[in-house]
Protein backbone atom coordinates (compact mmCIF):
# COMPACT_ATOMS: atom_id res chain seq x y z
CA UNK A 1 0.00 0.00 0.00
CA UNK A 2 1.21 3.50 -0.80
CA UNK A 3 2.08 5.94 1.94
CA UNK A 4 -0.92 7.90 3.27
CA UNK A 5 -1.39 11.40 1.95
CA UNK A 6 -0.85 14.33 4.27
CA UNK A 7 -3.85 15.81 6.03
CA UNK A 8 -5.45 18.94 4.60
CA UNK A 9 -4.59 22.38 5.93
CA UNK A 10 -6.78 22.81 9.05
CA UNK A 11 -7.98 26.30 8.07
CA UNK A 12 -8.93 25.14 4.57
CA UNK A 13 -10.71 22.09 6.02
CA UNK A 14 -12.46 24.35 8.51
CA UNK A 15 -13.69 26.72 5.80
CA UNK A 16 -14.99 23.69 3.83
CA UNK A 17 -16.73 22.41 6.96
CA UNK A 18 -18.26 25.88 7.38
CA UNK A 19 -19.71 25.68 3.85
CA UNK A 20 -21.11 22.21 4.60
CA UNK A 21 -22.76 23.63 7.72
CA UNK A 22 -24.09 26.60 5.72
CA UNK A 23 -25.49 24.20 3.09
CA UNK A 24 -27.29 22.36 5.90
CA UNK A 25 -28.87 25.64 7.10
CA UNK A 26 -29.97 26.54 3.55
CA UNK A 27 -31.10 23.15 2.21
CA UNK A 28 -32.29 21.44 5.39
CA UNK A 29 -33.23 24.36 7.68
CA UNK A 30 -31.04 22.89 10.42
CA UNK A 31 -27.39 22.22 11.11
CA UNK A 32 -25.19 19.16 11.54
CA UNK A 33 -25.34 16.67 14.38
CA UNK A 34 -24.16 13.38 15.83
CA UNK A 35 -25.40 12.70 19.36
CA UNK A 36 -29.04 12.93 18.22
CA UNK A 37 -28.46 9.87 16.02
CA UNK A 38 -27.29 7.93 19.08
CA UNK A 39 -30.29 9.15 21.09
CA UNK A 40 -32.73 8.23 18.35
CA UNK A 41 -31.31 4.74 17.92
CA UNK A 42 -31.28 4.25 21.71
CA UNK A 43 -34.97 5.20 21.69
CA UNK A 44 -35.54 2.71 18.87
CA UNK A 45 -33.82 -0.10 20.78
CA UNK A 46 -35.80 0.62 23.96
CA UNK A 47 -39.03 0.75 21.94
CA UNK A 48 -38.25 -2.61 20.34
CA UNK A 49 -37.49 -4.19 23.72
CA UNK A 50 -40.40 -2.65 25.61
CA UNK A 51 -42.80 -0.36 23.69
CA UNK A 52 -44.71 0.67 26.82
CA UNK A 53 -41.56 1.58 28.72
CA UNK A 54 -40.25 3.64 25.80
CA UNK A 55 -43.46 5.62 25.31
CA UNK A 56 -43.70 6.26 29.08
CA UNK A 57 -40.16 7.68 29.11
CA UNK A 58 -40.24 11.43 28.43
CA UNK A 59 -36.69 11.43 27.01
CA UNK A 60 -37.22 8.61 24.51
CA UNK A 61 -40.89 9.35 23.72
CA UNK A 62 -39.88 12.47 21.78
CA UNK A 63 -37.91 10.35 19.29
CA UNK A 64 -40.84 7.93 18.87
CA UNK A 65 -43.23 10.65 17.69
CA UNK A 66 -43.73 11.34 13.99
CA UNK A 67 -42.15 8.79 11.65
CA UNK A 68 -40.43 6.90 14.47
CA UNK A 69 -36.82 6.64 15.69
CA UNK A 70 -35.42 4.95 12.56
CA UNK A 71 -36.65 7.71 10.23
CA UNK A 72 -34.75 10.44 12.09
CA UNK A 73 -32.90 12.97 9.86
CA UNK A 74 -29.70 12.71 11.91
CA UNK A 75 -29.54 8.94 11.44
CA UNK A 76 -29.36 9.44 7.67
CA UNK A 77 -26.84 12.22 8.12
CA UNK A 78 -24.62 9.97 10.28
CA UNK A 79 -24.86 7.19 7.68
CA UNK A 80 -23.50 9.82 5.27
CA UNK A 81 -20.72 10.76 7.72
CA UNK A 82 -19.62 7.11 7.89
CA UNK A 83 -19.68 6.81 4.08
CA UNK A 84 -17.91 10.16 3.58
CA UNK A 85 -15.21 9.38 6.14
CA UNK A 86 -14.65 5.96 4.57
CA UNK A 87 -14.41 7.35 1.01
CA UNK A 88 -12.05 10.15 2.02
CA UNK A 89 -9.72 7.72 3.82
CA UNK A 90 -9.92 5.29 0.89
CA UNK A 91 -8.78 7.91 -1.63
CA UNK A 92 -6.08 9.21 0.73
CA UNK A 93 -4.67 5.75 1.50
CA UNK A 94 -5.60 6.06 5.17
CA UNK A 95 -7.91 3.05 5.61
CA UNK A 96 -6.25 0.94 8.26
CA UNK A 97 -7.50 -1.55 10.86
CA UNK A 98 -5.86 -0.31 14.05
CA UNK A 99 -6.42 0.87 17.60
CA UNK A 100 -4.95 4.35 17.81
CA UNK A 101 -3.47 5.22 21.20
CA UNK A 102 -0.74 7.11 23.00
CA UNK A 103 2.75 5.56 23.26
CA UNK A 104 2.34 4.50 26.90
CA UNK A 105 -1.12 2.96 26.87
CA UNK A 106 -1.86 -0.69 26.06
CA UNK A 107 -4.38 -1.69 23.46
CA UNK A 108 -6.94 -3.05 25.94
CA UNK A 109 -6.62 -0.02 28.22
CA UNK A 110 -7.11 2.23 25.22
CA UNK A 111 -10.32 0.43 24.30
CA UNK A 112 -11.54 0.74 27.90
CA UNK A 113 -10.73 4.47 27.90
CA UNK A 114 -12.58 4.81 24.58
CA UNK A 115 -15.68 3.10 25.91
CA UNK A 116 -15.63 4.97 29.24
CA UNK A 117 -14.98 8.34 27.64
CA UNK A 118 -17.73 7.70 25.14
CA UNK A 119 -20.18 6.83 27.91
CA UNK A 120 -19.37 10.02 29.86
CA UNK A 121 -19.80 12.06 26.66
CA UNK A 122 -23.16 10.33 26.21
CA UNK A 123 -24.35 11.51 29.64
CA UNK A 124 -23.09 15.03 28.94
CA UNK A 125 -24.71 15.15 25.50
CA UNK A 126 -28.08 14.07 26.89
CA UNK A 127 -28.00 16.77 29.58
CA UNK A 128 -26.77 19.47 27.18
CA UNK A 129 -29.11 18.40 24.33
CA UNK A 130 -26.28 18.06 21.85
CA UNK A 131 -22.59 17.59 21.20
CA UNK A 132 -19.69 19.20 19.37
CA UNK A 133 -21.50 19.16 16.02
CA UNK A 134 -25.19 19.54 16.86
CA UNK A 135 -24.73 22.13 19.58
CA UNK A 136 -21.27 23.75 19.46
CA UNK A 137 -20.84 24.05 15.66
CA UNK A 138 -24.47 24.38 14.58
CA UNK A 139 -25.60 26.67 17.39
CA UNK A 140 -22.25 28.45 17.65
CA UNK A 141 -22.39 29.81 14.10
CA UNK A 142 -25.99 30.94 14.68
CA UNK A 143 -24.83 32.70 17.86
CA UNK A 144 -27.02 30.58 20.13
CA UNK A 145 -26.20 31.44 23.76
CA UNK A 146 -26.47 27.84 25.02
CA UNK A 147 -24.15 26.62 22.26
CA UNK A 148 -21.40 28.99 23.41
CA UNK A 149 -21.95 28.06 27.07
CA UNK A 150 -21.62 24.38 26.09
CA UNK A 151 -18.54 24.95 23.94
CA UNK A 152 -16.67 26.90 26.62
CA UNK A 153 -17.71 24.37 29.30
CA UNK A 154 -16.62 21.40 27.15
CA UNK A 155 -13.16 22.86 26.47
CA UNK A 156 -12.86 23.81 30.16
CA UNK A 157 -13.82 20.29 31.25
CA UNK A 158 -11.37 18.71 28.82
CA UNK A 159 -8.44 20.96 29.80
CA UNK A 160 -9.19 20.52 33.52
CA UNK A 161 -9.23 16.72 33.21
CA UNK A 162 -6.37 16.39 30.69
CA UNK A 163 -3.59 16.18 33.34
CA UNK A 164 -5.31 13.15 34.92
CA UNK A 165 -5.23 11.16 31.67
CA UNK A 166 -1.88 12.44 30.45
CA UNK A 167 -0.47 8.89 30.59
CA UNK A 168 -3.03 7.85 27.98
CA UNK A 169 -1.78 10.28 25.34
CA UNK A 170 1.77 11.47 25.98
Amino acid sequence: MSTPRRYADPYLAGVCLGFVLLAAYVFAGRGLGASGAFASSAAGVVAAASPSRASANPYFARYLAGDGPWREWLLFEIAGVIAGGFLSALFAGRLRAAVERGPNLGRRSRLAYAFGGGAVMGIGAVLARGCTSGLALTGGALLGAGAWVFMIAAFAGAYAFAPFVKRAWR
Binding site: A34, N57, W73, V120, G122, T138, A154
Partner: protein
Protein backbone atom coordinates in the same frame (compact mmCIF):
# COMPACT_ATOMS: atom_id res chain seq x y z
CA UNK B 1 -35.41 16.92 -2.94
CA UNK B 2 -36.13 14.17 -0.43
CA UNK B 3 -34.96 15.40 3.02
CA UNK B 4 -33.27 12.06 3.75
CA UNK B 5 -31.27 12.29 0.53
CA UNK B 6 -30.20 15.80 1.56
CA UNK B 7 -29.22 14.40 4.98
CA UNK B 8 -27.06 11.66 3.44
CA UNK B 9 -25.35 14.10 1.05
CA UNK B 10 -24.63 16.63 3.79
CA UNK B 11 -23.37 13.79 6.00
CA UNK B 12 -21.00 12.55 3.28
CA UNK B 13 -19.53 16.04 2.91
CA UNK B 14 -19.27 16.37 6.71
CA UNK B 15 -17.52 13.00 7.16
CA UNK B 16 -15.22 13.65 4.19
CA UNK B 17 -14.12 17.03 5.59
CA UNK B 18 -13.49 15.67 9.09
CA UNK B 19 -11.36 12.84 7.69
CA UNK B 20 -9.39 15.18 5.40
CA UNK B 21 -8.54 17.39 8.38
CA UNK B 22 -7.21 14.38 10.29
CA UNK B 23 -10.04 14.43 12.81
CA UNK B 24 -10.63 10.69 12.51
CA UNK B 25 -7.46 10.07 14.50
CA UNK B 26 -7.78 10.17 18.31
CA UNK B 27 -4.13 11.02 19.21
CA UNK B 28 -4.34 14.03 16.88
CA UNK B 29 -7.53 15.28 18.57
CA UNK B 30 -6.06 14.68 22.04
CA UNK B 31 -3.11 16.90 21.09
CA UNK B 32 -5.53 19.81 21.41
CA UNK B 33 -5.71 19.31 25.17
CA UNK B 34 -1.91 19.12 25.64
CA UNK B 35 -1.37 22.10 23.28
CA UNK B 36 0.79 20.15 20.87
CA UNK B 37 -1.66 20.03 17.92
CA UNK B 38 -4.42 22.64 17.74
CA UNK B 39 -6.16 21.21 14.66
CA UNK B 40 -9.45 20.76 16.55
CA UNK B 41 -9.57 24.43 17.48
CA UNK B 42 -8.47 25.67 14.03
CA UNK B 43 -10.98 23.53 12.13
CA UNK B 44 -13.84 24.28 14.53
CA UNK B 45 -13.33 28.01 14.59
CA UNK B 46 -12.71 28.44 10.86
CA UNK B 47 -15.93 26.47 10.33
CA UNK B 48 -17.89 28.57 12.82
CA UNK B 49 -16.58 31.84 11.36
CA UNK B 50 -17.35 30.71 7.78
CA UNK B 51 -20.87 29.47 8.52
CA UNK B 52 -21.58 32.49 10.76
CA UNK B 53 -20.51 34.99 8.07
CA UNK B 54 -22.35 32.98 5.41
CA UNK B 55 -25.58 32.88 7.40
CA UNK B 56 -25.24 36.58 8.26
CA UNK B 57 -24.73 37.73 4.65
CA UNK B 58 -27.24 35.31 3.09
CA UNK B 59 -29.81 36.63 5.54
CA UNK B 60 -28.85 40.28 4.80
CA UNK B 61 -29.20 39.62 1.07
CA UNK B 62 -32.60 38.04 1.65
CA UNK B 63 -31.53 34.59 0.41
CA UNK B 64 -31.74 32.78 3.76
CA UNK B 65 -34.54 33.40 6.25
CA UNK B 66 -32.82 32.84 9.60
CA UNK B 67 -36.18 32.52 11.36
CA UNK B 68 -36.65 29.28 9.36
CA UNK B 69 -33.36 27.80 10.61
CA UNK B 70 -33.57 25.87 13.87
CA UNK B 71 -31.34 27.42 16.56
CA UNK B 72 -30.51 24.92 19.34
CA UNK B 73 -32.38 26.04 22.46
CA UNK B 74 -30.58 27.38 25.49
CA UNK B 75 -30.77 25.70 28.92
CA UNK B 76 -27.95 27.39 30.84
CA UNK B 77 -27.47 24.95 33.76
CA UNK B 78 -27.72 21.68 31.80
CA UNK B 79 -25.49 23.01 29.02
CA UNK B 80 -22.89 24.19 31.51
CA UNK B 81 -22.94 20.93 33.53
CA UNK B 82 -23.41 18.69 30.49
CA UNK B 83 -20.64 20.57 28.68
CA UNK B 84 -18.14 20.04 31.52
CA UNK B 85 -18.97 16.33 31.64
CA UNK B 86 -18.79 16.09 27.86
CA UNK B 87 -15.33 17.68 27.88
CA UNK B 88 -14.07 15.16 30.47
CA UNK B 89 -15.38 12.31 28.28
CA UNK B 90 -13.84 13.92 25.18
CA UNK B 91 -10.28 14.00 26.55
CA UNK B 92 -10.57 10.42 27.87
CA UNK B 93 -12.03 9.10 24.59
CA UNK B 94 -9.91 11.28 22.30
CA UNK B 95 -12.84 11.54 19.90
CA UNK B 96 -16.21 13.27 19.97
CA UNK B 97 -19.43 11.59 18.76
CA UNK B 98 -19.11 12.76 15.13
CA UNK B 99 -15.38 12.07 14.80
CA UNK B 100 -15.81 8.63 16.44
CA UNK B 101 -18.00 7.66 13.46
CA UNK B 102 -15.26 8.79 11.06
CA UNK B 103 -12.58 6.91 13.06
CA UNK B 104 -14.70 3.74 13.06
CA UNK B 105 -15.47 4.08 9.33
CA UNK B 106 -11.75 4.20 8.53
CA UNK B 107 -10.99 1.00 10.46
CA UNK B 108 -10.08 2.34 13.89
CA UNK B 109 -11.25 0.01 16.66
CA UNK B 110 -11.01 2.78 19.26
CA UNK B 111 -13.52 4.79 17.20
CA UNK B 112 -15.98 1.89 17.27
CA UNK B 113 -15.53 1.61 21.06
CA UNK B 114 -16.24 5.33 21.52
CA UNK B 115 -19.43 4.86 19.48
CA UNK B 116 -20.48 1.93 21.69
CA UNK B 117 -19.67 3.89 24.85
CA UNK B 118 -21.59 6.90 23.56
CA UNK B 119 -24.60 4.72 22.73
CA UNK B 120 -24.50 3.10 26.19
CA UNK B 121 -24.15 6.46 27.93
CA UNK B 122 -27.16 7.88 26.10
CA UNK B 123 -29.18 4.69 26.66
CA UNK B 124 -28.51 4.51 30.42
CA UNK B 125 -29.05 8.25 30.94
CA UNK B 126 -32.30 8.01 29.00
CA UNK B 127 -33.48 5.04 31.07
CA UNK B 128 -32.59 6.89 34.30
CA UNK B 129 -34.16 10.11 33.07
CA UNK B 130 -36.84 10.60 35.76
CA UNK B 131 -34.58 12.01 38.53
CA UNK B 132 -32.66 14.12 35.99
CA UNK B 133 -35.71 15.68 34.39
CA UNK B 134 -35.96 18.60 36.78
CA UNK B 135 -32.35 19.65 36.10
CA UNK B 136 -32.71 18.88 32.37
CA UNK B 137 -35.60 21.33 32.03
CA UNK B 138 -34.18 24.03 34.31
CA UNK B 139 -32.86 27.49 33.34
CA UNK B 140 -34.63 27.45 29.97
CA UNK B 141 -33.97 30.56 27.84
CA UNK B 142 -35.56 29.43 24.55
CA UNK B 143 -33.75 30.43 21.37
CA UNK B 144 -31.67 33.08 23.14
CA UNK B 145 -28.77 34.40 21.07
CA UNK B 146 -25.56 36.18 22.12
CA UNK B 147 -26.71 39.53 20.61
CA UNK B 148 -29.89 39.32 22.74
CA UNK B 149 -28.02 38.21 25.85
CA UNK B 150 -25.31 40.88 25.57
CA UNK B 151 -27.65 43.54 24.08
CA UNK B 152 -25.16 44.18 21.28
CA UNK B 153 -26.22 44.40 17.58
CA UNK B 154 -25.93 41.11 15.63
CA UNK B 155 -23.33 42.49 13.18
CA UNK B 156 -21.12 43.72 16.02
CA UNK B 157 -21.11 40.28 17.68
CA UNK B 158 -20.22 38.72 14.30
CA UNK B 159 -17.28 41.15 13.90
CA UNK B 160 -16.19 40.50 17.49
CA UNK B 161 -16.10 36.74 16.97
CA UNK B 162 -14.15 37.11 13.69
CA UNK B 163 -11.61 39.35 15.44
CA UNK B 164 -11.31 36.94 18.39
CA UNK B 165 -10.82 33.99 16.03
CA UNK B 166 -8.09 35.77 14.04
CA UNK B 167 -6.20 36.63 17.24
CA UNK B 168 -6.66 33.09 18.57
CA UNK B 169 -5.34 31.59 15.30
CA UNK B 170 -2.12 33.62 15.67
CA UNK B 171 -1.82 32.43 19.25
CA UNK B 172 -2.45 28.81 18.18
CA UNK B 173 0.37 28.96 15.62
CA UNK B 174 2.78 30.25 18.27
CA UNK B 175 1.78 27.52 20.73
CA UNK B 176 2.33 24.80 18.13
CA UNK B 177 5.78 26.17 17.24
CA UNK B 178 6.74 26.09 20.90
CA UNK B 179 5.51 22.50 21.39
Amino acid sequence: MNPFAVAVLIGIAFGWTLERAGLGSAPKLAGQFYLTDLTVFKVMFSAIVTAMLGAFWLSRLGILDLSQVYIPETFLGPQLGGGLLFGVGFVVAGLCPGTSCVAAATGRGDGAMVMMGMFSGVLVTGLAFAPLRHFYESTSRGSLTLPELLRIPYGVVVCGIVAMALIAFQFAERLEKRA
